[in-house]
């Protein structure tokens, strides 16, 4: 139960509290965190904000690149079936090829994109931690 108390949101956003909103257990954006410490101060300094902005940019760039790459592959599947003659009518292990490609072949691509994204996103965050001198 202790861990629950540590991670559950408990503090209501100060701006909201000031505005007089009293939703119990409601939104608590800054909730669930210890009060401002050295690290939080570092993040809110001008230099810290440079790191934060660069982290957000690299995460957004990563997400857009992975999404675009996936969509390109997705678009290539039906294009390939349309362009390569006879491909749509061929069979793979007794099953029509276009069904295998669209019905099963796309899922490994989705999984691979997700795996690549998670690995790189975690790496971006590790680099940010290093920059902030936080281990």
């Amino acid at each position: 139960m202790t861990r629950v108390r540590v991670t559950a949101p408990r503090r209501v956003d100060q701006s909201r509290a000031a505005a007089g909103s009293g939703t119990a257990g409601g939104s608590a954006l800054p909730g669930g965190r210890p009060p401002a410490d050295a690290r939080e101060a570092a993040e809110e300094s001008d230099a810290g904000q440079v790191f934060v902005r660069s982290l957000i940019r690299s995460q957004l760039r990563l997400a857009v690149v992975v999404a675009a790459g996936f969509l390109l592959i997705l678009a290539a599947f039906p294009l390939m079936l349309g362009i390569v003659p006879g491909l749509a009518d061929s069979t793979l292990a007794g099953l029509p090829f276009d069904w295998v490609l669209l019905g099963a072949g796309i899922y490994p691509v989705i999984g691979l994109s997700a795996w690549l994204f998670i690995r790189t996103a975690a790496r971006n965050e590790a680099r940010y931690r290093d920059l902030l001198g936080d281990k």
Binding site: T7, D13, S27
Partner: protein, 488 residues
Amino acid sequence: MNPAVGIAAFAAVSLATAVIGFYGLRISRTTGDFYVASRTVRPWWNASAIGGEYLSAASFLGVAGLILLSGTDALWFPVGYTAGYLMLLLFVAAPLRRSGAYTIPDFTEARLDSRVVRRVTSVVVVMVGWLYIVPQLHGAALAIRATTGLPAWVGQVAVVAVVCVTVVSGGMRSITFVQAFQYWLKLTALAVPILFILFVLADSGTPAVAAASTNPTGAAPAGLYQNISLLVALLFGTLGLPHVLVRFYTNPDGQSARRTTLIVLGLLSVFYLFPTAYGLVGRMFAPHLAQSGQADALVLLLPGELVGGTAGDLLSALVVAGAFAAFLSTTSGLVVSLAGVISQDLFGGSVKGFRRAAVISAVVPLGIASMTGSLALAGSVGLVFAFTASTICPVLLLGIWWRGLTDAGAIAGMVTGAVLCGGAMVAGAVLGAGGTPTWLAQPAAWTVPAAFAVMVLASRATRDRVPRTITRLMTRLHTPERPLATER
């Protein structure tokens, strides 16, 4: 099919759901337990629960039915449902978890520092939830009618009653266990019968009645616009679904929210192979089911059709159980998240208010479902995705990634998306399936860009309204949790 089989299967699933729900009652104590299972749910449990909740009537029945009707065009549905989760992982999962908010309205209010935005978001979320519950109830009506011969309303009322009992008794903690159980039940219920059918077909050497590419109804294939618009709706709609989002708060931190999503993607990918197989086998061996207008019941009827006898009855019972698991899990997930929103806005967030809100969330769509007829299940769920993609998706994406979003911009964009997409849905319902032009039947391709454009332009015009807390909020959304929270 023997009616007793269907009734027994439904009773067994309801009983199992209720028992797991009551077990959960003993360990949920506080309001926090009720809403987000205290964020201590393990990734595998959580991922199974997400899968269980997400795989609705549309996935279990609708996808196979649509594949039977439209062949490879319909394969975009399962692909889109799965790829929607990829988009959610890329753009939303970790930042949303780090926001620490419970519900979408909590997020928009905190991000934009505005009570009005909260109200508008709440209204949209409740609309989405109700729109999404209605096809589940239509599915229940269809399943009860096709398998037991009882009147359709029996299925709808039974689903709503079981959902109310489970949600009111245990909140999200018990729901998490119920949903996780139901993912595996749904997977088994689809996998075992189709493998058995394939074995029987191969063993007896039954020749295929038709080629996979033969269209059993002779309907025209979908055009490029339709497929693209559908993909836009499914890819961007998933990340705005209220019952999907609330699941991410049960992860301990942002990185584990990502890992959970990766497991979910695996679970979904495995699951969707089976509806696809049903559709393909249906096309090749039982195309007459499409002509009799029973396409949505394909999954339920195929075992009896191709296997028959006692084995056929047993397999049918398994599929019926899986179908009801689908209706129950998606409906209860939606009811939990709607009840969270309604109770916080109307009843001050107490446990008693949550229970009252849960009953309201379930009974209203029951009324709508009993007054409306069933369209193709996968199609009507596709429209709900278009609606979320045009309303909640822009406010989430821009809210997470763009500092310039303002409260006025968010409201203008959400209202634009809701009016355009809602209008297209109403027009489509009035004109009927035959008379609706394609651009109205699949509106996402123009309503989603319109909502984004209005949101950006209105935010630009009101740029002095960017909240003062923006620096702090963006830091919180995107920086990794401090080690204290990540050590487990």
